[in-house]
């Protein structure tokens, strides 16, 4: 036993020592800024309902990832100062969970569930719409060129460009392979602009279209047979993967999920992949992507540039989609022409961009419902950006 006097000295020394372990002893301004970023995302998710399924996990993940702690620099297995707290420390919970992101496992699983949710009917009913989903990928490669001009490495530029695909899992997947350090910034940028689609797209759409074009009425889609719906995921997977095998993890899972749904004999499997499985993966991907966003890597010029490039890519993508419809109309005979106001929907950002088409369309003709027609390019845009992702991986991986 220590003597009483010594004891109190020892006690206060140790309590003091404990304070060094607290976040207060390891706090920096960077932590504060990141925590505010996390809180803002949570606020937007709840109060404005901006992508709550993603921004709440990401926002809370940012909070978790920016709790300051002692020994953050000790990241190796068995390192004496490694307390297994931070996402970069071997043996920590967040570190284990993040392997789903860094190994590229979570995004394809989300695509599996997504495939089981998507209805490709309008696309099958009017296959021309598929091409709009190709045209809108101009945003990806336009942003790629812009990113090169900003001085990013080619692989990084590709990962940044994919923001223009308006598809979270695709962006995270490509970034995990080509630019692991930028995953956080790319994911946040992608989700931000997806949420801002109703703000970004309308001016571009109005600028590029004439009044006459905006009033074009499109033929209602025909009813699609069950056989066609079953053939679509099978043929879709074979054709797109044959052209771009590197897109297989995303395209394969997307179409597999869709086959589980459309076959109708595997309904319970489709229900599980679009239910518990996608929920669990969504939570873990959001939380860990958020936690990976640290002040040192996130509060950089690169992040600002990525946000600028994200805006560029969305603008170019919208431009590409709308202009492509106008060009196609030159070759289509009267009665088959398409309303260019559905061109923006090729970006995907489902289902917001299709709703933008509907809203702008109604502004000019109260009885011209474009929603259903815009759903076609909308789902085509998902395929299109997964193909584009495959192209980028082929070149730069």
């Amino acid at each position: 036993m220590v003597t009483s006097g010594n004891f109190w000295a020892f006690l206060s020394a140790n309590l003091n020592h404990f304070l060094e372990y607290t976040s207060f002893g390891n706090f920096t301004i960077g932590h504060a800024v990141m925590i505010i970023v996390g809180l803002v995302l949570i606020y937007l998710a709840i109060a404005k309902e901006f992508e709550p399924m993603l921004l709440i996990p990401i926002g809370f993940g940012i909070l978790l990832g920016n709790i300051p702690f002692w020994g953050a620099q000790n990241i190796l297995v068995g390192d004496p100062g490694n307390m297994q707290i931070g996402i970069n420390q071997s043996g920590s919970l967040l570190n284990y969970l993040y392997y789903g992101v860094s190994l590229g496992i979570f995004p394809p699983l989300i695509f599996l569930g997504l495939g089981a949710m998507i209805d490709f009917s309008t696309l099958i009913s009017n296959p021309k719409l598929i091409l709009i989903g190709a045209a809108a990928q101009l945003g990806i490669f336009g942003a790629y060129a812009a990113a090169l001009a900003f001085g990013f490495q080619p692989g990084e530029a590709g990962a940044i460009g994919i923001i223009g695909g308006a598809d979270g899992p695709t962006a995270i997947f490509v970034a995990s392979k080509l630019a692991p350090g930028l995953i956080g910034a790319i994911a946040i940028s992608a989700y931000t602009y997806m949420a801002l689609v109703p703000v970004i797209q309308p001016p571009v759409m109005r600028l590029l279209t004439t009044n006459k074009e905006r009033l074009i009425r499109m033929k209602p889609p025909r009813t699609v047979s069950k056989l066609e719906k079953i053939l679509f995921p099978i043929i879709g997977m074979l054709f797109t993967c044959f052209i771009v095998p590197a897109g297989l993890p995303l395209l394969g899972m997307l179409f597999f999920g869709n086959l589980l749904k459309e076959s109708t004999v595997t309904k319970r499997l489709a229900d599980t992949v679009k239910g518990p499985l996608i929920d669990i993966v969504t939570i873990l991907i959001g939380l860990t992507v958020g936690a990976s966003m640290q002040a040192t890597t996130f509060l950089t010029i690169a992040t600002v540039q990525i946000f600028v490039l994200g805006a560029v890519s969305f603008l170019i993508a919208t431009f590409g989609g709308v202009m492509f419809v106008k060009i196609m109309n030159l070759f289509l005979k009267e009665g088959n022409k398409m309303n260019p106001l559905i061109g923006n929907a090729g970006v995907s950002a489902m289902p917001d961009s299709a709703r933008v088409s509907q809203a702008i369309g109604l502004e000019y003709d109260k009885t011209n419902h474009l929603l259903m027609h815009a759903m076609g390019p909308n789902v085509a845009g998902i395929i299109g950006s997964a193909v584009a992702a495959g192209v980028l991986l082929s070149f730069f991986f």
């Binding site: 309902e49 709550p52 993603l54 996608i278 289902p351």
Partner: protein, 134 residues
């Protein structure tokens, strides 16, 4: 670029137990294997059979005794198979009924799916349910 990958060993050729090695040499036709293996499978399941034969007997005696005590006026010796046959019929009926229900369920599902076709799910993982308030 740094890519993390789980390291896996495809641990070199496993060495099967010496006895096993010898065994297959001495039993090229597999006859010994059939005899031994079937013996073992039977031993395992005969044990289960014996236990539950005994459990069942205990249970039957017990159940009858209890019934006799509560209703001493009824003869339980023979009519025991009647509830069983009824049970079988009911089970079969339920089974067939259930199969019909499956068909019905499919119809309901089809209807629901039709209604949901353009419901608000999102490529941004099904995230946004309403248009953001601009």
């Amino acid at each position: 670029m740094m890519i993390s990958t789980l390291l896996l060993t495809t641990a070199g050729a496993r060495v099967p137990g010496k006895a096993a090695q010898e065994f297959s040499e001495k039993d090229p036709s597999g006859i010994a294997m059939i005899v031994i293996a079937m013996t073992v499978v039977f031993i395992a399941l005969i044990l289960l059979f014996l236990v539950f034969k005994y459990v069942a007997r205990l249970y039957n005696i017990d159940a009858r005794n209890r019934l006799r005590k509560s209703r001493p006026d009824i003869d339980f010796s023979d009519d025991e198979h009647i509830p069983g046959e009824t049970l079988a019929a009911i089970s079969l009926a339920l089974h067939l009924y259930h199969e019909q229900m499956l068909g019905l369920e499919d119809a309901v599902i089809t209807f629901k799916n039709a209604a949901k076709t353009y419901s608000p799910w999102s490529s941004k993982i099904y995230g946004l349910r309403r248009t953001p308030n601009r």
